[in-house]
């Protein structure tokens, strides 16, 4: 058994997310978005990052607004329940960042190719679309067997993939449940992997269910205990989505000035994860807690 990979967010981000690196975040889509890790990236004011993710909800908008980003490779960037991501709009419209336009399937295909260790993979989507115009990593090709026209998608291998898991052991073996999005591909394709987790548990909890392990621990570089680390996105088994926070963020991001105030209060002035929780307040945490429980039926891995 290898050495413990437990560390804290400042250390994990400063050592594994250098300026200019390509970072995959929010790969489960609407759930388990690693907001705590993203906020640490902002606090460290990383520069020139490439953000990779299917639909980032508001996390990408926040990191872009903080000036950390030069390029986005995504299918959708905005605020899922309200629409536009205002920082994203400002940054793209002013030419401060470039966008590689993907669809969910082209991004899934790119990360699958990355995970499989092949330089490209074909898909039948996006033919005739203008995604070709704003994504140089798409090319039309012809199937060598059928002659069918296809879209070839270049593989994506993030420098670092950051995920938020429900529970993880100190060696990087994490349990994730719920919709998987492209988490598994992004972890396997990532050159390094940071796992933030609601709970740090004993290896015996994780290896009691090896099928639930999201990616083999030997490929994980750092493990960070980050309760409420996905807030305001939902964490199955832990808390519901905080819709109010997304509505508040829409208003707080409409202008740059308002966004600066939001950033100071919710990111820069928050030094540790506990401060974030107290900022939310007991009532709000209670309100987001699960009211109905449904526990998985056990399975036996005996011999």
């Amino acid at each position: 058994m290898s050495a413990s990979k437990l560390t804290d967010l400042p250390e994990a981000v400063s050592s594994l997310v250098p300026d200019g690196s390509a970072v995959a975040l929010g790969t489960a889509q609407e759930t388990l978005i690693p907001f705590a890790a993203g906020h640490e990236i902002i606090r460290q004011r990383k520069r020139g990052l490439t953000l990779i993710g299917p639909i980032s909800d508001i996390l990408f908008d926040q990191i872009i607004g903080a000036g950390c980003v030069s390029r986005v490779r995504a299918a959708w960037v905005g605020n899922v329940i309200t629409g536009s991501g205002y920082n994203f709009r400002r940054a793209v419209e002013s030419g401060h960042i470039t966008v590689e336009d993907h669809s969910i399937l082209t991004l899934t295909t790119a990360l699958t190719a990355g995970k499989m260790g092949i330089p490209f993979m074909p898909t039948g989507t996006a033919l005739g679309s203008d995604l070709y115009q704003t994504n140089p990593d798409l090319k039309t090709m012809v199937c060598p067997f059928t002659g069918r026209k296809l879209t070839a998608v270049r593989a994506i291998q993030p420098d670092v993939t950051i995920i938020h898991a429900q529970r993880c052991d100190e060696y990087g073996n994490a349990h994730v449940w719920g919709n998987m999005g492209v988490i598994r591909e992004a972890c396997l394709a990532g050159r390094s992997v940071i796992v933030t987790a609601e709970e740090i548990v004993a290896p015996e909890v994780i290896n009691s269910d090896p099928n639930r392990v999201v990616t083999p621990g030997f490929r994980v570089t750092a493990v960070v205990h980050a309760p409420w680390g996905a807030h305001p996105s939902p964490a199955p088994g832990h808390y519901n989505r905080d819709h109010r926070a997304f509505l508040e963020y829409r208003d707080a991001s409409r202008t740059e000035e308002a966004f600066r105030r939001w950033l100071k209060k919710w990111v820069d002035d928050v030094r540790i994860i506990d401060e974030y929780q107290s900022l939310l307040g007991e009532d709000r945490l209670r309100e987001l807690a699960l009211k109905q429980h449904l526990f998985s039926a056990p399975v036996d891995y005996g011999y």
Partner: protein, 266 residues
């Protein structure tokens, strides 16, 4: 109707649109459910005339039971509760790409007479006026489902002769275009707007007005469409939501988040 006050049952434009969307789903169909209004449309169909419909969500969820509580996103925890399957996006996208999805729902900012949809850039990319959120799964649903249904606010700036950018392919330049570019199947079957319901000419693939919502005139629709809009041979009137449908809608959207105001907000 616009202010949601008339008898027999008061309903909002959004409630009418969601109801019309739900009615596009036949029982037993496999439906790829998009963000926002379609979430509600599927729940409505599933709870009324299409109990055996299967819902597929791009983030890796497949459901054959309605969610037990209201949801605002497909990732809200009630949408995972007793799901048929939680898996990788690759798996559900594979089902779509195999041609196993009967119908899908997408929304957009700009739509043209051949059903091409733009949710990416307003104006030429080089000197864009507005950057929109992008495709999400919309390009995939428009490319690969057997048919897709578009839900939009009906305004002249949105209903244009030719979209600035094709995010989600419709019929391109008309008949034969999808086959020519290599798309394996499908195309838009229906466009549900704040003013009416539009379908596509079987041979020319041009969008035609098929139904007017209650209280809306043909002139009003044409004023809000940037090309000379033709009508179908029989121009119908959209049947308003019945009480059962409204009850279901309000159970799944108690705060009226999606249906309380005009769909344009979303």
């Amino acid at each position: 109707m616009k202010n949601g006050q008339e008898p027999p049952f008061a309903y909002t434009p959004a409630e009418l649109m969601v109801t019309a969307a739900a009615r596009e789903i036949a029982d037993g169909e496999v439906v790829f459910v998009g963000m926002r209004l379609p979430l509600l449309g599927f729940l409505l169909a599933k709870s009324t005339h299409a109990p055996n419909a299967v819902g597929i969500y791009e983030l890796g969820i497949i459901r054959d039971l309605p969610a037990p509580a209201p949801i605002l996103t497909m990732g809200d925890l009630p949408n995972l509760f007793r799901a048929q399957c939680c898996t990788d996006s690759a798996d559900v996208m594979g089902l779509l790409q195999q041609g196993l999805v009967d119908a899908s729902f997408i929304g957009g900012a700009q739509l043209d007479r051949f059903g091409n949809l733009n949710t990416s850039y307003i104006g030429p990319v080089s000197e864009m006026q507005t950057r929109l959120p992008g495709s999400g799964g919309a390009c995939d649903l428009a490319s690969l489902s057997r048919r897709h249904i578009i839900i939009m606010a009906h305004q002249k700036r949105r209903f244009v002769e030719r979209v600035d950018y094709i995010t989600s392919p419709g019929y391109g330049t008309g008949a034969g275009w999808r086959q020519a570019v290599g798309l394996p199947r499908g195309g838009p079957s229906t466009v549900i707007t704040t003013l009416g319901i539009l379908r596509f000419h079987p041979s020319t693939r041009e969008m035609l007005l098929a139904s007017l919502h209650p209280g809306v005139t043909l002139a009003e629709v044409r004023e809000n469409t940037a090309w000379p809009l033709q009508t179908a041979d029989r121009l119908e009137s959209t049947p308003p939501p019945i009480r059962d449908e409204l009850e279901v809608l309000r159970r799944f959207d108690p705060g009226g988040f999606w249906t309380g105001r005009s769909a344009e907000r979303h």
